[in-house]
């Protein structure tokens, strides 16, 4: 059995270095071709006619006016007469035409009659949900009733975080060409290897006949795992149009209406503690909606977030079905919501105890699953945000309208590598190819693969040709749940070690050194520790003559933890320092700090970028981001980017990131990083606002209206 383990931390030449991403130059120069950029010969442009009603039955569809228009190539009814539609934006007809403008004109010309049915699009008022609300059972641990009866201090609060959308800048969609018995697809997807399988069934052709290509993609965040209805329709339109390629990417309004949302989460929470700050009891009644199917995914085992070992708890959840677009995974599914609900309730309890929330989180660290890690991270983050100097009891008592406060949010995540296979090829000319059916979403997967291969072969990263984004490469998992880094680094490492083993076997008799005594360093193959007995990489590969080495490596998640290359269980802490103008209600972020562990860090530069990005996403969700539904119209009122607001470059304050890079963290192996830092930021910001203004703003995003509302309730109380 070859030794696949990582070189010792102090012996690594490339892994652990701050390396600029390989695709940086093509992306920063506009030369990177995303699939939505492609204009293949004979391209047709497609669009969707969608339903404007939240709940309706289709009485009739007349597509003739569209079919008769000049330039229209194919029209397909997706939702037939009699279909009951459950949310506005549902796809009704797909049209392909010579130009996008003609396709849009044709969609407008189609006449659809609906029987409009009653709808519900709001879930924040659980009492109004009636039969649309489904309780999903109660979880009890310990004796919560006794804990609350015995409690020296209790706190109660209500909290809410609305539905948000993924708002991928490259919209969902694809170019598909179905000619003869073959389908070529250029989608925007997080799952290159799995895309043929999800397209095969609806098209009724074997997945082996479907070939997927994707070099770059413009954001997914959990919403682009499978082929969607529009991808299927693009294929069908292509077939109907005689095999011409069809481009179907959603317009912005449709993207924000039906291409996935993060579920909301609302809660009534009660907490109990001893006077000394010992956390003793938890009770939460939560409700949420992820669209028509209800959902919400607020797993009871995650409550109270990170502090799950609190001895007494009662947890209830109710899923509410509404007539709105369906939930999809959203960077750390359910965790940001649960972190926000729970950390807010714990901050309120700490305030009731007149205790610093830092002290409360530290004091109760033994109730977390990784007490030592959280203790160290809380301490580090507190130092970075100057907690001791800046913290005050709830409510900034200084004069003037600007109130400043500090808050904490915590995160936890699994992040074990997914199944991944990789093929490494070494040619006699010394060139090396590493191919795997993964994808680079902007997380620098391409760069990580190159770093691992280069480390193993003793070459520079520029000497490795990376192939990904092609479904004909060895199968690699979907990029979701922070599973990619673990999967691709293990499969790449194993394939490279296996290929190197073949080179060693070949050279052993030639160099008169046993194969297991050879090593690859600095572009040479040499006897271990003896550069005088060596051969350059080129000389070594030349010995291959007419042969080519091709070896595979595989990550099997079940076996991975015992192999020691990768692991699961990331921890992190975010803290926020905010200023709130209590006259205008405007919240300004001064500073956010993030301390994050993800085991062995392959590339600190791009890892930090992941954390910066996650903190910035948290700023959006905490301050501006919210899908607004109108109960009368039943529609999304802000399916655009003026009113579906993302933070801009001036809105995020100063962000400081500290990656835990130590021998102790390193020896855990590689752990996924995408999700965890996207979790705690909303709680940190919301808690900082409560600390600043002296009152809890129950609902995020913390708009001026909500901040002023919370302040005026207090004054009235």
């Amino acid at each position: 059995m070859p030794n696949y383990s990582w070189p010792p931390m102090d012996k690594r030449r490339i892994m652990g270095q701050r390396i600029s991403r390989l695709d940086g130059p093509v992306k920063a120069s506009g030369r990177a071709k995303y699939n939505s950029d492609l204009n293949p010969q004979g391209l047709l442009h497609a669009t969707l006619l969608t339903c404007p009603h939240a709940h309706a039955k289709i009485k009739s569809i007349d597509t003739k006016p569209a079919e008769q228009m000049k330039g229209v190539a194919a029209v397909r009814v997706i939702s037939k007469e009699g279909t009951e539609i459950q949310w506005a934006g549902t796809e009704v007809v797909a049209i392909a035409a010579e130009t996008e403008a003609i396709a849009i004109d044709a969609a407008r010309a189609i006449k659809v009659e609906y029987e409009i049915l009653p709808h519900l699009v709001h879930e924040h008022d659980l009492a109004a949900a009636g039969t649309r609300a489904r309780a999903s059972g109660e979880t009890i641990e310990g004796d919560p009733d006794k804990a609350f009866a015995d409690a020296e201090v209790t706190s109660e609060g209500e909290y809410g975080i609305p539905v948000i959308t993924h708002c991928c800048l490259e919209p969902h969609g694809s170019i598909v060409q179905w000619s003869g018995d073959k389908v070529e697809a250029w989608p925007s997807t997080q799952n290159v290897s799995g895309f043929p399988g999800s397209l095969a069934q609806p098209l009724s052709i074997p997945a082996t006949q479907i070939h997927v290509h994707m070099d770059y993609m413009g954001g997914g965040f959990g919403s682009k795992f499978t082929a969607d209805r529009w991808d299927v329709e693009a294929a069908q339109l292509s077939k109907a149009a005689g095999g011409r390629p069809v481009k179907m990417f959603l317009d912005r309004a449709t993207e924000l209406t039906i291409a996935g949302v993060r579920p909301s989460a609302y809660a009534k929470i009660k907490t109990a503690a001893k006077k000394d700050g010992t956390f003793t009891g938890w009770q939460s009644q939560t409700w949420a909606s992820g669209g028509f199917a209800g959902g919400g995914g607020l797993n009871a085992t995650l409550f109270p977030y990170v502090y799950t070992k609190v001895p007494n708890k009662r947890i209830n959840h109710t899923a509410v079905s509404i007539n709105a677009g369906t939930q999809r995974a959203w960077r750390a599914p359910a965790h940001p919501q649960i972190s926000f609900l729970c950390c807010s309730a714990l901050e309120d309890l700490a305030a009731k105890l007149e205790m610093s929330s830092l002290d409360f989180f530290l004091k109760n660290a033994d109730l977390t699953i990784r007490p030592d890690v959280y203790r160290a991270q809380l301490t580090k983050a507190a130092e970075m945000i100057e907690w001791q100097k800046n913290w005050h009891q709830r409510g900034d008592k200084t004069a003037g309208p600007i109130k400043r406060g500090l808050g904490i949010g915590v995160n936890t995540w699994g992040g074990l590598g997914h199944a991944s296979a990789c093929r490494t090829t070494i040619n006699a000319d010394g060139s090396v190819a590493v191919d795997l059916g993964t994808q680079d979403l902007g997380t620098a997967t391409r760069t990580m693969v190159a770093m691992v291969a280069a480390e193993t072969f003793g070459l520079g990263i520029g000497q490795i040709k990376i192939g990904l984004g092609d479904s004909r490469f060895p199968v690699s998992g979907a990029s979701g749940g922070s599973t990619t880094i673990g999967g691709v680094t293990v499969s790449t490492r194993k394939a490279a070690v296996n290929a190197l083993g073949k080179i060693f076997d070949l050279l052993a008799p030639i160099m008169n050194v046993p194969a297991d005594q050879l090593e690859a360093v600095d572009g040479r193959i040499q006897q271990k520790g003896n550069p005088s007995k060596s051969m350059t990489w080129l000389q070594a590969c030349a010995k291959l003559g007419t042969q080519t080495i091709s070896e595979t490596g595989e990550n099997v998640p079940r076996d991975a933890p015992k192999e020691g290359l990768i692991n699961q269980g990331a921890s992190g802490v975010q803290m926020a320092d905010v200023s709130v103008d209590i006259e205008t209600g405007v919240v300004k972020i001064n500073r956010i700090v993030a301390v994050q562990d993800c085991g062995l860090v392959v590339n600190p530069k791009t890892a930090e970028s992941q954390v910066f990005g996650a903190c910035i996403m948290s700023c959006c969700a905490a301050l501006t981001e919210e899908r607004v539904m109108d109960q009368t119209l039943g529609r999304v009122m802000n399916a655009d980017m003026e009113f579906y607001k993302l933070a801009g470059i001036a809105d995020i304050g100063e962000i400081l990131v500290h990656m835990d890079i130590t021998p102790e963290h390193d020896k855990k192996g590689i752990i996924g990083l995408g999700e965890p830092p996207a979790i705690g930021g909303v709680a940190a910001i919301a808690n900082a606002v409560a600390n600043a203004i002296g009152v809890r703003v129950p609902m995020v995003p913390l708009t001026p209206k909500r901040v002023l509302g919370a302040l005026s309730n207090r004054r009235m109380a």
Partner: protein
């Protein structure tokens, strides 16, 4: 620019989003850059009606005249991307909010989705493709790479062009000016920390180049 084009531009500007923003004092970050410089809503002389069918125009893109037939309703962004296969500028919000389609027209930074292609005829259009010839990188692009100011990269070409236009007017900006100057572009992955550093680095390098 011929007087005809000038007239068209002025007529359009009376109803443009930038005029609206200006009037209501919103989008100060953008205005401060000169990206959305004040335009006067003057009464315009009558101009001949174009369309509704396709019309032949010439767009001067990165110094090269290119003939193209477009419907008068086609935006500059769509015309570049689809008819001319110039795809650095991306279509994201498609209504003048996110800046992913940022290009420079007659030295002014504009959103390509809010300019009609026919209005851009006869003007100097600069796109990211014109910044440097592959494999060379413009200092702004290089600074974005060095500072990891991109993840998925879909907003990046727009940001690079906005930064280029901003630095042309503000060669030696402070961090605060950078924050205001690039307020007209949005990123979803959250690359602003890198972008701030990148623009400051590019400013230094471009100045260095000039003074050297």
């Amino acid at each position: 620019m011929n007087p005809k084009d000038e007239g068209k531009k002025k007529r359009r500007s009376a109803f443009s989003r930038r005029g609206f923003l200006q009037g209501f004092g919103a989008g100060t970050g953008v205005l401060a850059t000169g990206v959305l410089a004040p335009e006067q809503a003057e009464a315009a002389p009558a101009t001949p009606v174009q369309g509704p069918g396709e019309v032949a125009i010439t767009l001067t893109i990165n110094g090269k005249p290119q003939n193209v037939k477009v419907e008068p309703r086609a935006t500059l962004c769509d015309t570049l991307r689809t008819a001319l296969d110039v795809t650095g500028a991306k279509r994201v919000c498609d209504r003048g909010t996110c800046g992913a389609c940022t290009v420079i027209v007659d030295k002014k930074v504009v959103y390509g989705c809010t300019v009609l292609a026919i209005d851009a005829a006869g003007k100097r259009i600069e796109t990211i493709e014109g910044l440097a010839v592959a494999p060379k990188l413009h200092p702004v692009s290089k600074a974005f790479w060095d500072n990891d100011a991109q993840q998925c990269g879909y907003c990046t070409p727009g940001f690079v062009m906005a930064a280029k236009g901003f630095l042309d007017r503000n060669p030696n900006p402070t961090l605060e000016q950078v924050k205001k100057g690039l307020g007209g572009n949005l990123c979803r992955c959250g690359t602003y920390v890198g972008i701030r550093k990148a623009v400051l680095q590019a400013a230094k390098e471009m100045q260095g180049g000039r003074n050297a």
